[in-house]
Subunit: 193 residues, 2 copies
DNA sequence: CGTCTATTTGAATGTACTCAAAAGCGGTGG
DNA sequence: CCACCGCTTTTGAGTACATTCAAATAGACG
């Protein structure tokens, strides 16, 4: 059962009791997502928070020139969603699409809110999880403003080795903020050293 | 009293009862910080979370080449601290220094943890606050990877007009991830259009 | 095998950096 | 009140990093 991996995830952070586990099993809904299928499109309001059981997603912005910029990838045991739109109720500027056939567990905003009220422990769990995401996000900002593309690529490989043969270089380039062509020259240079 | 501005801040997010207010008043300690004084230095462990009552700070990283990169500014009613080091207990790579004479309210890590246990409401408050910080941080990543320096500068002015005549261009350049010289040419170009 | 997509290559261009120096500007002491 | 100091901002020339555009090559998959 998919829900097991989510319960394991929660128990790892903070053990759940029976009632909490039962509520989780009730409010999270399993969905199977095909490759190239979207779970959020620009202009929609983000109504769900999604936990990846299996597969891989990317969340990206399309700029005024029509170019795509990857903000985040998500694989097994990661969360994905536009937190901003989810909380404010404003339309999202982001898209989330599956890079592989995937299985996710989704919770609706209303259910998440009542989860926080009924079982305060989840406030804590989500606070910790959000803090970790914030730390990672800040780390990436520092990288972007202090490192060259080559350094960022090396750091990416070091940090997310599991992505190396799973995500195309086009997508990695978009995540790093460089063109695929330039990433290619970086890779050529690195292979010859 | 400085504590009033913090209580106002909390009440604005989620009204506090008497006991909660009293605890806040007890665990937060007021400190007066002189211009150029540090409240965190690289290598130290971040033991405090700080709320700015008055004044202005910057948090920055020094890279291997000795260059400084601003991750964040904080003025009145903002929080500042290295969340990563605060939670993991590992030494921080960041520095936090006052740009003006400032007054802050600090809470120790132990007190913040017991605040969460004794008054669960603060889990919620800090979760929301962290979510907002994460949204802002993600927004900035997207900007960094999708915009030119000129666009980032215009967006900065638009977003933080209160910083325009308060923070030097050297500091703004470091925040945007460009050299002061290049920011100067951007400003020149913008003034002539 | 053919089609589609991803990756590589290369030339020309643009964006941003480095280094050095000049100019501006607010404060402080004589 | 002026002269000087320290710091910020501006200017400019030369260079490095990264993009654009076009086209060739390589892989993956039906």
């Amino acid at each position: 059962m998919s829900i097991t991996s989510l319960l394991d995830y929660f128990n790892n952070l903070l053990p759940l009791d029976e009632a909490e586990s039962a509520t989780v099993a009730r409010v999270f809904r399993e969905r199977s997502i095909k490759r190239r299928q979207f779970i959020l499109r620009e202009g929609e309001i983000s109504r769900y928070n999604s936990f990846v059981v299996e597969g891989c997603f990317r969340m990206y912005l399309v700029d005024d020139k029509g170019k795509e910029h990857n903000l985040q990838f998500a694989i097994e045991n990661w969360w994905i969603g536009d937190i901003g739109s989810f909380h404010t109720g404003e339309p999202s500027r982001l898209n989330i699409v599956a890079l592989e056939h995937s299985v996710i567990l989704q919770i609706r905003k209303e259910d998440q809110l009542s989860l926080f009220v009924d079982h305060p422990k989840f406030n804590r769990i989500f606070r910790v999880f959000t803090e970790n995401a914030l730390v990672a996000s800040q780390r990436r900002i520092l990288q972007n403003i202090s490192s060259t593309a080559e350094e960022r690529y090396l750091d990416f490989l070091d940090r997310y080795p599991q992505f190396f043969n799973r995500i195309s270089n086009v997508q990695i380039a978009s995540f790093l903020g460089v063109t695929p062509e330039f990433l290619s020259t970086i890779r050529k240079k690195l292979s010859g050293s």
